[in-house]
Subunit: 217 residues, 2 copies
């Protein structure tokens, strides 16, 4: 059964891979699972039909037969559980990969996302520069710890996993809007390693094509 | 094998259930799994022995034989997977419970945690009042959506699950420091329903006992 995901009709980043449907597309491409996409306007995201799928009115969602899911972390985990290639077979290694999924979303992403939000919403406030420095200090604490743990390894814990998929996705938002990532050369190489994966490229091209098509329409 | 978790030697909330080891204690109590606790000073949390367990230098961690985990979401999930009672048997219901786990930690917790942090770190900043209002608006958006979805149900999706355990834990931080939760009567009742569970009470008492013992020491 072909799953259907939802994505922005007009992505705020103009299709450059930062919207959260990218994570789902990437996971589906890694496991070679074809999928359909239903595009939503910002208005449609807040209407009852979509709120039934995601009570918080966000994208992405995932529908597959009787199953409807929201939260990009949960959707990536569902895909990883049902297919081979995104979680190790060994039970302990699998639990550690899940830990990296949560670490990406609950420890590393929040200050990075807050910084992006502040750059939009607080740019004209008198405290903007000071607030930005505060957030960047938080980001550097997380990145310093992550960089020390990664060392010169290819991926966070053995082979590429759903934990790497989410961590690279989170770091890509930082790369798109700041020089901070460059301060951690091993993390820059780690992110580039993720972007070089054929599945990432296919997902990126598919997401960009939505914006390109909309611009021509 | 008895697992060992780590917790604050002196919790900033004086043992009132807000430190993240509470989530692990609660999950372990729900499944009736005894556990050991190793207490850590703030200094010890940043030392190599602990950084080997959690690269971000935080509590809680979880050790069980050869397995070492960090991230409270991942640890609760590990406990839920290995025991009966925290995740439904039906595969689709289980995937939805996992979605609520991620929703608690990645969608509902960030503005609540940021508000707590701002109240400590930004109280003397020129932007404090405006920032607090901004965060409280974000919190209300999330809570309004959650309240609408919960309606008059007991739990978020069928029986009590690890998703409820994390959602109640996240909302408890808000309850401890604000009146906002009172604006959503069904969420207040939902949180009280969680606190009334015998497993929650046992976990709370155990966490409080650490602080009480330390105060006497």
């Amino acid at each position: 059964m072909t799953p259907t995901i939802t994505a922005f009709e007009r992505s705020p980043d103009r299709g450059k891979g930062l919207a959260r449907d990218m994570r789902i597309r990437w996971a589906l491409e890694e496991v070679r699972q074809p999928y359909d996409v239903r595009l939503l306007s910002f208005k449609a995201m807040k209407e009852p039909a979509h709120l039934a799928l995601n009570p918080f009115g966000q994208i992405p969602t995932y529908e597959e037969g009787d199953l409807a899911l929201f939260e990009s972390g949960a959707i990536v985990f569902h895909i990883a559980e049902r297919h081979t290639g995104l979680l190790p077979d060994d039970a302990n290694a699998r639990a550690r990969a899940v830990a990296w999924m949560f670490a990406a979303l609950n420890t590393v992403e929040p200050p990075i996302f807050d910084r992006s939000l502040a750059k939009i919403l607080e740019r004209d406030e008198p405290w903007y520069e000071q607030r930005l420095r505060f957030l960047e200090d938080s980001i550097r604490k997380r990145l310093g710890a992550l960089s020390a743990r990664l060392g010169d390894a290819e991926w966070l814990d053995g082979g590429f996993s759903a934990g790497d998929l989410l961590m690279v996705s989170v770091l890509l938002r930082l790369k798109a809007s700041s020089e901070i990532l460059d301060e951690y050369p091993n993390l820059s190489v780690y992110v580039a390693r993720g972007e070089a994966r054929p599945a990432y490229k296919r997902a990126f091209d598919a997401q960009l094509a939505v914006f390109t098509a909309a611009s021509k329409g």
